[in-house]
Subunit: 289 residues, 2 copies
Amino acid sequence: MNETGFIAALRALPLHPGARGLADDAAVVSLGTETIILTHDVLVEGRHFLTTQDMADVAWKLVATNLSDLAAKGAEPIGVLLGHMLGGDDARFVDGLGEVLEHYGVPLLGGDTVAGEAPRSFGLTAVGRATHTPVPSRAGAQIGDALFVTGTLGAAMLGLEALRAGDGGDPLPYTRPLARLLEGESLAPLAHAMMDVSDGLLLDAFRMAEASGVSMAIDSAAVPVADATRAMACLTWGDDYELLFTLPAGTCPPVAATQIGTVEPRGFAPLFLDGEAIANSQGLGYVHG
Amino acid sequence: MNETGFIAALRALPLHPGARGLADDAAVVSLGTETIILTHDVLVEGRHFLTTQDMADVAWKLVATNLSDLAAKGAEPIGVLLGHMLGGDDARFVDGLGEVLEHYGVPLLGGDTVAGEAPRSFGLTAVGRATHTPVPSRAGAQIGDALFVTGTLGAAMLGLEALRAGDGGDPLPYTRPLARLLEGESLAPLAHAMMDVSDGLLLDAFRMAEASGVSMAIDSAAVPVADATRAMACLTWGDDYELLFTLPAGTCPPVAATQIGTVEPRGFAPLFLDGEAIANSQGLGYVHG
């Protein structure tokens, strides 16, 4: 079964009302006066990280990508649970795990440790509490909103190229991505829609448009890119973990961000790039597998 | 690094105060007026299940073993998150997942889906809310308590033998273990200490004694076993997911359970089986890996 078929089959099961997006979106669960946010990501050797990579960086990325899902919900992290497959480089993994947990002030809650063999896989569950309700989702974009993104797109792409070339370029944007937790918390009370850009700006904007029943009109020249000579690659490459969000027209973002487009009534395509309709998400970005 | 070394290294990291046991015990997190319980287990093909097994049973076991960790905390399940590695038999996996979620009335909250290859691994996080605080732990056994266990030990062992032999014996106790959720909820206000018996009765009783700073005196003849001709095998085999708990002397358990021993002052060994001291946990049960 491919991922699409599998997720379609899962949707027929008893689902929690907070499990809106299944694999796409963090889960939102009301509990007494609190709302908790839960997300789980798996990294597989050779697929989500290079076999030659420093395991400290793999541990960092595993935590940061999950915290990024919490950031998109405006959540404050409570802790993480680790599903770890033992190997020869576990000491480096623990080093990186300690570094990322210290960096974000997030504690380890528990998990499971198993023996395994290559290709190894690592799972992480992050739990947070919502700082604002209703919790922002990708489905809330409204016609007339302005579309913003934090940071610079394509930085992770250049980071991976530097890592592969080993030519002294800076691999950090790929190996040690940052989760926009503070930005997410500031934006949660204001944003109509919000998500993190894990799979490429265009693909994720396409998904936000689909979920919201609107069209996104993006001005490619407005998007901050890490390499202007390869702007399209920067717009379709994943792993940047920036926040994509919409605000009512005239509202200034309380964090550093760039307006890259507007939310329009649903046209015959969910996405318009420099006026050109993009009706199909094929080839727009990285599809997980 | 082996599991013991890895867990020792993890203990040096920023830990949540509720992460008492790391890999051993579910995490306990206070949140407003609620207390949430979190647990994460990983099953690896060829290690935790047979490559030839029906994937519907693997999905069942993945959920049931995590719910068993919630049961030991007297928790009511809120939902589960799945880390799934795609393969050829995903439709059966979804069938079994649906069956176990329906059986326990537990919804799917979300998760992640990745491509992978054999040996595949599957992770599951279960989240619940405590029905009683303080939440029972393995560390609360008190001198003079009576030691109880639910159900019959060794049933999973016979189930695996039936599965391997294919001779018409009943594999269900191995393939579709049950989580003692209702029992755990009834016991939580009464039990001084509680845990589930995932790795074998003697090993888990040894661990409870160590965590509580006491000795457990077990009368082997009192333990209900599935095969009286192999009583010792039944006491050291894992996968039964019964509840092991202590109650103050004279308190009757509100659920079906058998008294199998007493809690004594810490002697020179944590465990005494029919009066014989067992000072070392080596060989007592199944050590995860």
